[in-house]
Amino acid sequence: MSGLLRRLVTVNVVVLLVMLVVLLLLPTYVSNRALLSVLAIANCYVMFAASWDVLSGFTGQVNFGHAAFIGGGGFVVGLLSKYQEGVPALGQLASATVGAALLGVLIGVPCLRLKGPYLALATLSAASALLQLSFVFKAQTGGEEGISGVTRLTESGLGGIGEGLTRLFMGAAFYDGLRPLAQSTYVNYYVTLVVMALVLLGLLRLGYGRRGLVLRSIQQDELAAEAAGVPVVRYKLGAFVLSGALAGLAGGLLVQVRGSVGIDLLFIDLSLLIIIIAAVGGVGTIIGPAIAAYVVMLLQLFYLDKVRFFQENPELKLGAFSLFVIVLLIVQPRGLLPPVMKRLNAPAARRNALTLAAVSAAGAGQASTTSSDVEPATGTDTEPAARG
């Protein structure tokens, strides 16, 4: 079974590796530092989108409040910088990850038995509850102002990695000749790139491994998955926690790159932007939303910000994206990338479907020792699987 799966992984991994090599070498060919700072932010958004996809694309629990995790992680970093100056940047990131994971439990448990609109509302309101709380504790969170003067990424152990990579790719003399501000641009870029690469590789491995199949089986038919012996509750909650933890990590990282945390990280706008990115890239593919995140962020921060009309009316950027995604949902509901990816993946995907059927059949085989009426449930499980 793994041999067949590996082929599916390969296409995605190849795309990812090409992407990574291009991004690693990019600074040696492009000396535009503005582009690099935009890409550092985009790297964080890639993680936002990919972590959203693990929960929503795989288990089908569509999260309309992903900003809760991002802002949660961001504010952990911000509050630590403000009140616990002794904590190093790396410790802040770890706390952000753990904090967001706890938030994942807190939100995930009540959400276990919710679906569709109920789940949408619960996640949406969880995020706005955090936003409201940030106003209630205005003295600590700074309210509309947020917290500035956050510990910079360059001051952490991770900064050393970034520095090392910059020296490696750009040459030591080049790095030493830069002003501190310019140095931090390169460090931010490389650190976010490394973290993003690790997160994406991990998620791809998980998503296209056995666990990914289990997660997808929950989306396709929860009852059938349960009948086939899948511990549905554990997986659903696990996806929530993992998604939250990674989003918290990425949120913390973004805050350290920006040097400030604000309530914009808790806004519904951010949650929607992530959904838009995932919808454009193709929900449930990990790599699709990741690539779409680059496209959307570059478009937004590098191109649209230079157009005078959007400079004067920044609010219309998200409006334009919203309009685009509405049209997209009607015209090409599976996203822009999947049709392309599907071409590449076609043979593997077909076998993947077969494998899923085999997995559930095997699972049902185990379960049927205890109960004989699971046979029909298996039928319903393989049926949607065959579509893939």
Binding site: G116, P117, S128, V136, L272, L323
Partner: protein, 284 residues
Amino acid sequence: MDVLVQGALTSATLALVALGFSLVYGVARIVNLTHGSFYLIGAYAAYAAGQAGAPLLLAVLTGVGAAALGGLLLYVLVLQRLEHQEVALLIATLSAAVLVDSVVRYFYGAQDRRLASFADGATTIFGVQVLSSRVVAGVVAAITIVVVLSVLRFTPVGRMVRAVAEDGEAAVLVGIRPRRVMLAVVVVGSALAGLAGVMAAPYGVVNPTMWLLPLTQAFAIVILGGLGSLNGTILAAVVVGFLDRFVAFTFSGGEIYVGLITIAVILTTLVVRPSGLLGQAVAR
């Protein structure tokens, strides 16, 4: 006493928004996240009409009309094309809400606006001083709700709507066109939200983010009352309305907590009794 009077008035306005939301869900099975935006559109259209020098009544009608038109466009352009696609509908309607938000921001900026009211000053009810505009809003909302519920219960049109809500396919068999009924319901539901927006605007805040709180409150009310149950919606609106005012009056700076209370209501209901107060067990 303060809480009782104010709570009753707030409940009526909330119920008006939630009624539209509940109708659209009950009949068309669409959770319309753009619903709060019609509240916003109503308020801004009335504001624009007022700026243009229209008399107050005309401004109110403009607000309601604009919201109804918005509902029409939304149904024809978006909702109809995404029939039965639950998640896509949620994403599309939320996107539409943000789109409206940003367009309003483009034309009117982010600052708070003030709207004229039918009645200035304060009125005394049972010894409680209440803003007259709140009283007008509450009374108009209550009357509208009674009218809508009566139409649904006692007229042939109402019977058609209830038929579609119960079983769209069976409705086709007796000569009803479900899509037309759904269109009408979305338009009316949006108009109701628009009316609530216009009436609440003189004492509330008018800015581009004013769609979110009514939306979550309407959603909370509908879930508390049981998705699809109109009586439940009205009952739940009263509960949330009184809670809302109770919190606002009891705690200092209580307006901040109003949103939180709504969310607490939602989450508690979802965990404790997902079918709501008057809803049947939810079929999943």
